[in-house]
Symmetry: C2
Subunit: 215 residues, 2 copies
Protein backbone atom coordinates (compact mmCIF):
# COMPACT_ATOMS: atom_id res chain seq x y z
CA UNK A 1 0.00 0.00 0.00
CA UNK A 2 2.41 2.58 -1.24
CA UNK A 3 -0.19 5.35 -1.55
CA UNK A 4 -3.50 4.25 -0.19
CA UNK A 5 -5.31 7.55 -0.69
CA UNK A 6 -7.12 9.08 -3.61
CA UNK A 7 -3.94 10.93 -4.42
CA UNK A 8 -2.26 7.82 -5.75
CA UNK A 9 -2.31 9.09 -9.33
CA UNK A 10 -0.12 12.08 -8.64
CA UNK A 11 3.31 11.82 -10.27
CA UNK A 12 6.22 11.87 -7.87
CA UNK A 13 7.73 14.55 -10.09
CA UNK A 14 4.78 16.81 -9.32
CA UNK A 15 5.61 16.75 -5.64
CA UNK A 16 9.21 17.63 -6.38
CA UNK A 17 8.02 20.54 -8.49
CA UNK A 18 5.65 21.76 -5.79
CA UNK A 19 8.66 21.94 -3.51
CA UNK A 20 10.48 24.04 -6.09
CA UNK A 21 7.50 26.33 -6.58
CA UNK A 22 7.29 26.87 -2.85
CA UNK A 23 10.86 28.15 -2.78
CA UNK A 24 10.17 30.73 -5.46
CA UNK A 25 6.93 31.77 -3.85
CA UNK A 26 8.83 32.23 -0.62
CA UNK A 27 11.26 34.55 -2.37
CA UNK A 28 8.44 36.39 -4.11
CA UNK A 29 6.54 36.84 -0.86
CA UNK A 30 9.64 38.31 0.72
CA UNK A 31 10.04 40.72 -2.18
CA UNK A 32 6.48 41.81 -1.56
CA UNK A 33 5.07 40.44 -4.82
CA UNK A 34 1.36 39.86 -4.37
CA UNK A 35 0.31 38.01 -7.52
CA UNK A 36 2.03 35.69 -9.95
CA UNK A 37 0.89 34.01 -13.17
CA UNK A 38 1.84 30.49 -14.15
CA UNK A 39 3.81 31.77 -17.15
CA UNK A 40 6.05 33.88 -14.98
CA UNK A 41 6.60 31.18 -12.40
CA UNK A 42 7.20 28.65 -15.16
CA UNK A 43 9.88 30.80 -16.72
CA UNK A 44 11.70 31.12 -13.40
CA UNK A 45 11.58 27.39 -12.75
CA UNK A 46 12.34 26.31 -16.29
CA UNK A 47 9.05 24.43 -16.50
CA UNK A 48 6.10 24.48 -18.85
CA UNK A 49 3.27 26.73 -17.57
CA UNK A 50 0.63 24.09 -18.22
CA UNK A 51 2.65 21.74 -16.09
CA UNK A 52 2.38 24.09 -13.15
CA UNK A 53 -1.34 24.53 -13.53
CA UNK A 54 -1.77 20.77 -13.78
CA UNK A 55 0.38 20.13 -10.73
CA UNK A 56 -1.76 22.52 -8.74
CA UNK A 57 -5.01 21.22 -10.19
CA UNK A 58 -4.36 17.84 -8.61
CA UNK A 59 -5.07 19.47 -5.28
CA UNK A 60 -7.63 22.17 -5.94
CA UNK A 61 -8.33 25.44 -7.69
CA UNK A 62 -6.03 28.04 -6.25
CA UNK A 63 -5.93 30.63 -9.03
CA UNK A 64 -8.10 33.40 -10.41
CA UNK A 65 -8.81 33.33 -14.14
CA UNK A 66 -7.45 36.30 -15.97
CA UNK A 67 -5.29 37.22 -12.99
CA UNK A 68 -3.03 34.52 -11.62
CA UNK A 69 -2.31 33.26 -8.13
CA UNK A 70 -2.05 35.17 -4.88
CA UNK A 71 1.53 34.48 -3.82
CA UNK A 72 0.93 34.12 -0.09
CA UNK A 73 -2.18 32.06 -0.49
CA UNK A 74 -0.59 29.69 -2.98
CA UNK A 75 2.48 29.32 -0.81
CA UNK A 76 0.30 28.46 2.14
CA UNK A 77 -1.62 25.87 0.16
CA UNK A 78 1.50 24.21 -1.21
CA UNK A 79 3.02 24.02 2.23
CA UNK A 80 -0.17 22.48 3.51
CA UNK A 81 -0.14 19.94 0.68
CA UNK A 82 3.46 18.98 1.31
CA UNK A 83 2.85 18.74 5.03
CA UNK A 84 5.13 21.63 5.95
CA UNK A 85 2.74 23.19 8.45
CA UNK A 86 4.61 21.46 11.25
CA UNK A 87 8.20 20.84 12.31
CA UNK A 88 9.50 17.44 11.27
CA UNK A 89 11.95 15.79 13.62
CA UNK A 90 14.86 13.91 12.11
CA UNK A 91 17.33 11.39 13.46
CA UNK A 92 20.84 11.53 12.06
CA UNK A 93 22.85 8.33 11.92
CA UNK A 94 26.54 8.80 11.26
CA UNK A 95 28.43 11.82 12.57
CA UNK A 96 31.30 11.90 10.09
CA UNK A 97 32.24 14.71 7.75
CA UNK A 98 28.94 14.72 6.00
CA UNK A 99 26.81 14.19 9.08
CA UNK A 100 28.52 17.07 10.85
CA UNK A 101 27.97 19.32 7.86
CA UNK A 102 24.30 18.41 7.85
CA UNK A 103 24.00 19.23 11.55
CA UNK A 104 25.58 22.63 10.96
CA UNK A 105 23.48 23.33 7.88
CA UNK A 106 21.16 26.23 8.50
CA UNK A 107 18.63 25.57 5.79
CA UNK A 108 16.94 22.75 7.62
CA UNK A 109 15.67 24.73 10.55
CA UNK A 110 14.50 27.48 8.26
CA UNK A 111 12.48 24.99 6.28
CA UNK A 112 10.79 23.25 9.15
CA UNK A 113 13.11 20.31 9.70
CA UNK A 114 15.21 19.73 12.78
CA UNK A 115 17.56 17.07 14.10
CA UNK A 116 16.14 15.76 17.34
CA UNK A 117 18.50 12.82 17.84
CA UNK A 118 21.97 11.80 16.66
CA UNK A 119 23.62 8.39 16.53
CA UNK A 120 26.96 6.81 15.80
CA UNK A 121 28.83 3.61 16.67
CA UNK A 122 32.29 5.11 17.13
CA UNK A 123 33.14 4.89 20.89
CA UNK A 124 35.13 8.12 20.52
CA UNK A 125 31.98 9.92 19.47
CA UNK A 126 29.24 8.30 21.52
CA UNK A 127 28.41 10.36 24.59
CA UNK A 128 29.84 13.59 23.22
CA UNK A 129 27.64 16.67 23.32
CA UNK A 130 27.24 18.61 20.08
CA UNK A 131 27.28 22.41 19.77
CA UNK A 132 23.50 22.36 19.40
CA UNK A 133 23.12 20.52 22.71
CA UNK A 134 22.33 17.05 21.41
CA UNK A 135 24.20 14.05 22.75
CA UNK A 136 25.50 11.43 20.35
CA UNK A 137 23.82 8.17 21.23
CA UNK A 138 25.01 4.71 20.39
CA UNK A 139 23.13 3.09 17.55
CA UNK A 140 21.86 0.49 19.99
CA UNK A 141 19.79 3.20 21.64
CA UNK A 142 18.03 4.00 18.38
CA UNK A 143 14.68 2.38 19.05
CA UNK A 144 14.32 3.84 22.52
CA UNK A 145 15.41 7.36 21.61
CA UNK A 146 13.38 7.49 18.42
CA UNK A 147 10.27 6.61 20.36
CA UNK A 148 11.01 9.06 23.16
CA UNK A 149 11.74 12.01 20.89
CA UNK A 150 9.01 11.37 18.33
CA UNK A 151 11.37 11.35 15.38
CA UNK A 152 9.70 10.57 12.07
CA UNK A 153 12.47 10.90 9.49
CA UNK A 154 15.75 9.01 9.49
CA UNK A 155 18.85 10.45 7.84
CA UNK A 156 21.60 7.98 6.95
CA UNK A 157 25.06 9.51 6.65
CA UNK A 158 27.13 6.40 7.29
CA UNK A 159 29.51 4.64 4.91
CA UNK A 160 27.73 2.51 2.34
CA UNK A 161 28.75 -0.69 4.06
CA UNK A 162 26.64 0.10 7.11
CA UNK A 163 23.69 1.82 5.47
CA UNK A 164 21.51 -1.25 4.94
CA UNK A 165 21.83 -2.35 8.54
CA UNK A 166 21.06 1.15 9.78
CA UNK A 167 18.01 1.26 7.53
CA UNK A 168 16.78 -1.98 9.07
CA UNK A 169 17.17 -0.58 12.54
CA UNK A 170 15.36 2.61 11.60
CA UNK A 171 12.48 0.60 10.21
CA UNK A 172 12.51 -1.57 13.31
CA UNK A 173 12.20 1.60 15.39
CA UNK A 174 9.07 2.60 13.47
CA UNK A 175 10.58 5.11 11.05
CA UNK A 176 8.81 5.22 7.70
CA UNK A 177 10.81 7.83 5.83
CA UNK A 178 14.54 7.79 5.13
CA UNK A 179 16.88 10.30 3.56
CA UNK A 180 19.83 8.24 2.41
CA UNK A 181 23.23 9.79 1.69
CA UNK A 182 25.01 6.45 1.39
CA UNK A 183 25.85 5.31 -2.12
CA UNK A 184 23.74 2.19 -2.15
CA UNK A 185 20.20 1.24 -3.09
CA UNK A 186 18.45 0.44 0.18
CA UNK A 187 16.22 -2.60 0.30
CA UNK A 188 13.10 -1.64 2.23
CA UNK A 189 9.59 -3.02 2.61
CA UNK A 190 6.63 -1.67 0.68
CA UNK A 191 5.21 1.55 2.04
CA UNK A 192 8.53 3.00 3.16
CA UNK A 193 9.62 6.29 1.64
CA UNK A 194 13.28 6.48 0.71
CA UNK A 195 14.96 9.42 -0.98
CA UNK A 196 18.55 9.07 -2.09
CA UNK A 197 21.04 11.90 -2.20
CA UNK A 198 23.80 10.50 -4.29
CA UNK A 199 26.62 12.74 -5.49
CA UNK A 200 28.41 10.01 -7.36
CA UNK A 201 25.45 9.20 -9.55
CA UNK A 202 25.03 12.89 -10.31
CA UNK A 203 28.69 13.23 -11.18
CA UNK A 204 28.47 10.22 -13.46
CA UNK A 205 25.63 11.96 -15.28
CA UNK A 206 27.83 15.01 -15.74
CA UNK A 207 30.75 12.90 -16.93
CA UNK A 208 28.49 11.23 -19.46
CA UNK A 209 27.22 14.54 -20.71
CA UNK A 210 30.72 15.91 -21.13
CA UNK A 211 31.91 12.76 -22.83
CA UNK A 212 29.02 12.68 -25.28
CA UNK A 213 29.25 16.39 -26.00
CA UNK A 214 32.87 15.96 -27.03
CA UNK A 215 32.27 12.81 -29.04
Amino acid sequence: MRSPTKFSKIPAASITRLSIYSRYLEALAQEGVKIIASDKLAQKCGINPAQIRKDLAYFGEFGIRGVGYFVKELLFEIKRILGLNKVWKMALVGVGNLGSALLAHQNFARQGYEFAAVFDVDPAKVGRRLPNGLIIHHLDELERVVKETGVEIGVIATPGTQAQEVAQRLIQAGIRAILNFAPIQLQVPEGMAVENVDFTVKLDNLAYHLTMGNA
Copy 2:
Protein backbone atom coordinates in the same frame (compact mmCIF):
# COMPACT_ATOMS: atom_id res chain seq x y z
CA MET B 1 22.50 21.52 -29.05
CA ARG B 2 21.86 19.64 -25.88
CA SER B 3 22.87 16.24 -27.21
CA PRO B 4 24.14 16.50 -30.74
CA THR B 5 25.08 12.84 -31.14
CA LYS B 6 23.14 9.81 -32.21
CA PHE B 7 22.63 9.02 -28.55
CA SER B 8 20.06 11.78 -28.13
CA LYS B 9 17.23 9.28 -27.68
CA ILE B 10 18.64 7.77 -24.53
CA PRO B 11 16.57 8.56 -21.44
CA ALA B 12 18.41 10.49 -18.76
CA ALA B 13 17.14 7.89 -16.31
CA SER B 14 19.06 5.20 -18.18
CA ILE B 15 22.32 6.99 -17.49
CA THR B 16 21.47 7.22 -13.82
CA ARG B 17 20.74 3.50 -13.78
CA LEU B 18 23.99 2.67 -15.56
CA SER B 19 25.74 4.45 -12.74
CA ILE B 20 23.88 2.33 -10.22
CA TYR B 21 24.63 -0.88 -12.09
CA SER B 22 28.31 0.02 -12.14
CA ARG B 23 28.36 0.22 -8.36
CA TYR B 24 26.91 -3.25 -7.98
CA LEU B 25 29.20 -4.67 -10.60
CA GLU B 26 32.10 -3.15 -8.72
CA ALA B 27 30.99 -4.94 -5.58
CA LEU B 28 30.42 -8.18 -7.45
CA ALA B 29 33.83 -7.98 -9.09
CA GLN B 30 35.41 -7.54 -5.69
CA GLU B 31 33.54 -10.57 -4.37
CA GLY B 32 34.99 -12.52 -7.26
CA VAL B 33 31.68 -13.10 -9.04
CA LYS B 34 32.39 -13.76 -12.71
CA ILE B 35 28.96 -13.76 -14.35
CA ILE B 36 25.63 -12.10 -13.59
CA ALA B 37 22.21 -12.31 -15.26
CA SER B 38 19.90 -9.35 -15.68
CA ASP B 39 17.34 -10.89 -13.34
CA LYS B 40 19.82 -11.07 -10.50
CA LEU B 41 21.14 -7.57 -11.02
CA ALA B 42 17.60 -6.27 -11.38
CA GLN B 43 16.59 -7.77 -8.07
CA LYS B 44 19.53 -6.12 -6.31
CA CYS B 45 18.78 -2.73 -7.83
CA GLY B 46 15.01 -2.91 -7.49
CA ILE B 47 14.59 -2.55 -11.24
CA ASN B 48 12.83 -4.56 -13.93
CA PRO B 49 15.22 -6.96 -15.71
CA ALA B 50 14.03 -5.91 -19.16
CA GLN B 51 14.87 -2.36 -18.21
CA ILE B 52 18.47 -3.32 -17.58
CA ARG B 53 18.77 -5.16 -20.87
CA LYS B 54 17.25 -2.20 -22.68
CA ASP B 55 19.54 0.29 -20.98
CA LEU B 56 22.54 -1.75 -22.09
CA ALA B 57 21.16 -2.33 -25.57
CA TYR B 58 21.31 1.39 -26.27
CA PHE B 59 25.06 1.05 -26.36
CA GLY B 60 25.76 -2.43 -27.69
CA GLU B 61 25.42 -6.15 -27.08
CA PHE B 62 27.39 -6.98 -23.99
CA GLY B 63 25.74 -10.22 -22.87
CA ILE B 64 25.74 -13.87 -23.84
CA ARG B 65 22.37 -15.46 -24.49
CA GLY B 66 21.56 -18.25 -22.13
CA VAL B 67 24.34 -17.15 -19.80
CA GLY B 68 24.35 -13.53 -18.70
CA TYR B 69 27.04 -10.85 -18.55
CA PHE B 70 30.69 -11.12 -17.64
CA VAL B 71 30.93 -8.88 -14.60
CA LYS B 72 34.34 -7.36 -15.31
CA GLU B 73 33.64 -6.85 -18.98
CA LEU B 74 30.27 -5.22 -18.37
CA LEU B 75 31.73 -2.99 -15.69
CA PHE B 76 34.44 -1.89 -18.07
CA GLU B 77 31.94 -1.12 -20.80
CA ILE B 78 29.65 0.87 -18.53
CA LYS B 79 32.57 2.89 -17.23
CA ARG B 80 33.61 3.58 -20.78
CA ILE B 81 30.09 4.66 -21.69
CA LEU B 82 29.84 7.00 -18.73
CA GLY B 83 33.28 8.42 -19.43
CA LEU B 84 34.85 7.10 -16.24
CA ASN B 85 38.05 5.86 -17.87
CA LYS B 86 39.76 9.08 -16.83
CA VAL B 87 40.02 11.27 -13.74
CA TRP B 88 37.69 14.24 -13.81
CA LYS B 89 38.93 17.42 -12.20
CA MET B 90 36.46 19.46 -10.21
CA ALA B 91 36.46 23.01 -8.90
CA LEU B 92 34.75 23.60 -5.58
CA VAL B 93 33.19 26.99 -4.95
CA GLY B 94 32.25 27.66 -1.34
CA VAL B 95 34.28 26.24 1.55
CA GLY B 96 31.61 26.26 4.24
CA ASN B 97 30.33 23.31 6.22
CA LEU B 98 29.16 21.46 3.18
CA GLY B 99 32.11 22.32 0.97
CA SER B 100 34.55 21.15 3.64
CA ALA B 101 32.67 17.89 4.02
CA LEU B 102 32.84 17.35 0.28
CA LEU B 103 36.59 17.96 0.28
CA ALA B 104 37.03 15.40 3.03
CA HIS B 105 34.73 12.87 1.41
CA GLN B 106 36.68 9.83 0.33
CA ASN B 107 34.28 8.47 -2.24
CA PHE B 108 35.19 10.97 -4.90
CA ALA B 109 38.79 9.96 -5.35
CA ARG B 110 37.82 6.31 -5.35
CA GLN B 111 35.37 6.94 -8.17
CA GLY B 112 37.64 8.95 -10.42
CA TYR B 113 36.76 12.48 -9.38
CA GLU B 114 39.10 14.90 -7.67
CA PHE B 115 39.05 18.48 -6.52
CA ALA B 116 41.78 20.35 -8.37
CA ALA B 117 40.86 23.89 -7.30
CA VAL B 118 38.94 25.53 -4.49
CA PHE B 119 37.37 28.98 -4.25
CA ASP B 120 35.67 31.24 -1.76
CA VAL B 121 35.08 34.97 -1.26
CA ASP B 122 35.57 35.10 2.50
CA PRO B 123 38.83 37.00 3.18
CA ALA B 124 39.37 34.83 6.25
CA LYS B 125 39.49 31.76 4.03
CA VAL B 126 41.17 32.95 0.85
CA GLY B 127 44.85 32.08 0.84
CA ARG B 128 44.55 29.30 3.43
CA ARG B 129 46.02 25.95 2.57
CA LEU B 130 43.79 22.90 2.96
CA PRO B 131 44.84 19.55 4.46
CA ASN B 132 45.02 18.11 0.94
CA GLY B 133 47.47 20.80 -0.14
CA LEU B 134 45.15 22.99 -2.19
CA ILE B 135 45.05 26.72 -1.61
CA ILE B 136 41.72 28.50 -1.39
CA HIS B 137 41.61 31.02 -4.20
CA HIS B 138 39.41 34.08 -4.40
CA LEU B 139 36.48 33.71 -6.73
CA ASP B 140 37.98 36.41 -8.92
CA GLU B 141 40.76 34.00 -9.82
CA LEU B 142 38.27 31.44 -11.12
CA GLU B 143 38.76 31.89 -14.84
CA ARG B 144 42.54 31.84 -14.65
CA VAL B 145 42.80 28.88 -12.29
CA VAL B 146 40.18 26.82 -14.08
CA LYS B 147 42.09 27.21 -17.30
CA GLU B 148 45.45 26.46 -15.72
CA THR B 149 44.30 23.35 -13.90
CA GLY B 150 42.09 21.94 -16.63
CA VAL B 151 39.03 21.66 -14.42
CA GLU B 152 35.92 20.48 -16.25
CA ILE B 153 33.28 20.19 -13.53
CA GLY B 154 32.17 22.97 -11.21
CA VAL B 155 30.73 22.20 -7.78
CA ILE B 156 28.65 24.94 -6.18
CA ALA B 157 28.44 24.75 -2.39
CA THR B 158 27.63 28.38 -1.67
CA PRO B 159 24.48 29.84 -0.12
CA GLY B 160 21.58 30.03 -2.57
CA THR B 161 21.90 33.78 -2.85
CA GLN B 162 25.28 33.53 -4.54
CA ALA B 163 24.80 30.39 -6.59
CA GLN B 164 23.51 32.02 -9.77
CA GLU B 165 26.40 34.45 -9.92
CA VAL B 166 28.89 31.65 -9.32
CA ALA B 167 27.27 29.63 -12.08
CA GLN B 168 27.71 32.52 -14.46
CA ARG B 169 31.36 32.79 -13.60
CA LEU B 170 31.89 29.07 -14.05
CA ILE B 171 30.27 29.23 -17.47
CA GLN B 172 32.35 32.29 -18.28
CA ALA B 173 35.43 30.27 -17.39
CA GLY B 174 34.46 27.59 -19.87
CA ILE B 175 32.91 25.06 -17.50
CA ARG B 176 30.09 23.06 -19.07
CA ALA B 177 29.03 20.81 -16.21
CA ILE B 178 27.87 21.89 -12.76
CA LEU B 179 27.00 19.98 -9.63
CA ASN B 180 24.80 22.35 -7.68
CA PHE B 181 24.21 21.98 -3.93
CA ALA B 182 22.49 25.35 -3.55
CA PRO B 183 18.73 25.27 -3.19
CA ILE B 184 17.88 27.17 -6.34
CA GLN B 185 17.16 26.34 -9.96
CA LEU B 186 20.14 27.66 -11.91
CA GLN B 187 19.46 29.52 -15.13
CA VAL B 188 22.01 28.31 -17.67
CA PRO B 189 22.34 28.39 -21.44
CA GLU B 190 21.46 25.46 -23.67
CA GLY B 191 24.07 22.73 -23.75
CA MET B 192 25.13 23.10 -20.14
CA ALA B 193 24.78 20.10 -17.86
CA VAL B 194 23.48 20.87 -14.39
CA GLU B 195 22.75 18.34 -11.69
CA ASN B 196 21.10 19.47 -8.50
CA VAL B 197 21.68 17.91 -5.11
CA ASP B 198 18.87 19.30 -3.07
CA PHE B 199 18.18 17.93 0.41
CA THR B 200 15.23 20.18 1.04
CA VAL B 201 13.33 18.98 -1.99
CA LYS B 202 13.99 15.41 -0.96
CA LEU B 203 12.81 16.09 2.56
CA ASP B 204 9.67 17.71 1.22
CA ASN B 205 8.99 14.53 -0.70
CA LEU B 206 9.34 12.53 2.49
CA ALA B 207 7.10 14.93 4.40
CA TYR B 208 4.46 14.60 1.70
CA HIS B 209 4.66 10.84 1.81
CA LEU B 210 4.27 10.76 5.58
CA THR B 211 1.42 13.24 5.49
CA MET B 212 -0.49 11.34 2.81
CA GLY B 213 0.13 7.99 4.44
CA ASN B 214 -1.49 9.26 7.62
CA ALA B 215 -4.36 11.00 5.88
